[in-house]
């Protein structure tokens, strides 16, 4: 007889929430990477550490490099290899003019979006006693 370990509704719910959270983080990571480079140039590992310190966005370090690669291909970032004290060159990223523009647009959109969503979820948080 074939026995299947069917996930319980609670497990399925937790998995869906995890997936949703992972997608949410991933979606915000592009804006976060652009924001990290606002007014400075950083190399890959510095960007990861910067985001780790200021947010909980980076789940897997591997997700950031392909994003940086794409942002560069889109012309939003520029990069240069700079010889470092560590004995090997590092690839430093900085924002281009259109990268700065995109970061600003994204920040404004995010602000409006989160304010709207904040108002929307107020009743849900109040019910659970998580009031601002």
């Amino acid at each position: 007889m074939l026995l299947l370990n069917k996930p319980s509704p609670v497990e399925t719910n937790v998995n869906s929430t995890d997936r949703w959270e992972a997608q949410l983080r991933k979606g915000a990571l592009e804006m976060a990477a652009l924001t990290a480079l606002w007014g400075r140039r950083l190399y890959g590992l510095e960007i990861i550490r910067f985001l780790e310190q200021r947010s909980q966005l980076v789940l897997s370090e591997g997700t950031i490099y392909p994003i940086l690669n794409r942002l560069k291909a889109e012309g939003l970032l520029t990069s240069e290899w700079v010889e470092a004290e560590a004995g090997h060159p590092r690839k430093y990223y900085s924002l281009t003019q259109s990268g700065r523009q995109r970061a600003r647009q994204m920040a404004e959109t995010w602000l409006e979006f989160s304010a709207g969503l904040g108002r929307l979820i107020e009743p849900v948080l109040e019910k659970r006693g998580i009031k601002k």
């Binding site: 490099y65 994003i67 090997h88």
Partner: protein, 233 residues
Amino acid sequence: MNDQDAIENYLSTLRRALKGLPAPDCDEILSEIRVHLRESIQQAGSSVQTVISHLGPAEELAAQYRENLLVDRIAKTFSPWVIFHGALRLARTSALGFACFVIALIGYGTGAAMILSAGAKAFFPRQVGLWIGPGIFNFGWHGNSGRYQGGIGFILATDGPAREVLGWWYISVALAIGVLFVWGTTKLVRKFLKRTKTRRPGPFLRSPHVTAIVSTCVLFVLATANLAQSIAR
């Protein structure tokens, strides 16, 4: 295995998984990941296994690079090959993506068939053409000249008196239709791919080979049903 061997092992897996990407892109990715691995070990004092586990499996990392670069290439290209490749990858993410891939397969397949039939007209002028008769409209190949008896192409009926109406014009018309199909499919699928958010292949179809086999089966069933219908008539 020492740290250096583990790093080289990871990088050679990554290089294999990135196969097909332009060599300069691939070299730059590998250099950057090499720096990341070395510095993470030095700075955090973590073991090489921990650092690699934070980075994720080399195949997954390569898949993310490939998808990100593919989206960029699609945004810039009109090459049917790149578009088709993009549709194949998208087919692995969702049922909607699979539908998009089937549209690409049918569109490009019809376009290619039209262009090939234009070439075939030069070698088989009596078998290739536009056959019109009472209830008959067949654009493509048929068995006999004179009385029309079945064929391959756009078929409305399979038997009856019919005559070929285009003659040598068939070549120009079939070429034009073929190019129109390729162009239209490229425009349609490109639009779809650009609007679709990139994500990792989902559970729908994991391997590109499985996708190719399943879609070939779908087309085979459609073609067989079409043929069976023709024979039944």
